[in-house]
């Protein structure tokens, strides 16, 4: 019977019990430092963190080169991109002016 509630994991949905295989030495390391009542939460957090990395790597793969030459004639070279950023940020430069309030 599942005894944890969804609020233990900061999720609004139901929880499921699953069976996974884990190396004995890794399990021993976890049980040494993580109290039994916190192990599910610890594993959920570990999965969340690794999934976030995998999801980020996937979207990085998908988005690499997504901005085309046709759509960005002002960003054809690395120097163009640097200049584009400089131009944009240059509009924000704060200059001291005599007599300003």
């Amino acid at each position: 019977m599942a005894t944890n509630t969804s609020s233990d994991y900061e999720y609004g949905d139901k929880v499921h019990k699953i069976t996974v295989t884990i190396p004995a030495t890794l399990l021993a390391r976890m049980t040494e430092y993580i109290p039994a009542r916190r192990r599910s939460q610890f594993i959920v957090r570990a999965i969340e963190e690794q999934l976030a990395i995998e999801e980020q790597l996937a979207v990085l793969e998908e988005s690499a080169g997504a901005w085309s030459d046709e759509n960005h004639p002002d960003m054809l070279t690395e120097a163009d991109i640097d200049q584009w950023i400089r131009n944009l940020r240059g509009t924000w430069v704060l200059e001291d002016r005599v007599g300003h309030e």
Partner: protein, 145 residues
């Protein structure tokens, strides 16, 4: 400075991407693609709110879906009270020294400082006078120029 991918307790990497590397990635610059992928393998990367603004300025409508999808996967660090205070103090200190810094540069530097992150930028010269700021040591193969 060590080059490893340090991680915080929340699984976030210790890197804040400046706008340049993100645009270079989107434009298909291979060294930037490889650099960001390498950093991302150690944890979620962060961008400052200003970088998110600049990317949105640069994208065109046809690229909105994939661009927004990429931005969503980064942790966007907001301009909160700590960042605002750091930004103001940084600009004031530089002006006292007779130097100037663009407000976006100051906000991005302050975001890195306030969150104890290492800034990944191709414009290191613009941040060299910012005291206490850690800047990722790019190799020649990482740099676009």
């Amino acid at each position: 400075m060590a080059l490893g991918c340090w991680k915080t307790a929340l699984g976030m990497s210790r890197y804040l991407l400046d706008t340049g590397p993100v645009i270079q990635h989107l434009r298909g610059h291979k060294p930037s693609i490889q650099l960001i992928r390498r950093l991302a393998s150690g944890g979620k990367l962060s961008i400052a709110a200003m970088t998110r603004i600049e990317i949105r300025v640069g994208m065109v409508a046809a690229e909105q879906y994939i661009t927004q999808k990429l931005l969503t996967r980064f942790t966007t660090l907001m301009l909160d009270r700590a960042v605002a205070d750091r930004t103001g103090d940084l600009i004031a200190a530089m002006r006292q020294r007779g130097a100037s810094i663009a407000l976006p540069d100051a906000m991005i530097a302050a975001t890195a400082l306030a969150n104890n992150l290492i800034l990944v930028t191709y414009n290191q010269a613009h941040f060299v006078d910012v005291g206490g700021l850690s800047v990722y040591p790019l190799f020649d193969s990482d740099s676009p120029t």
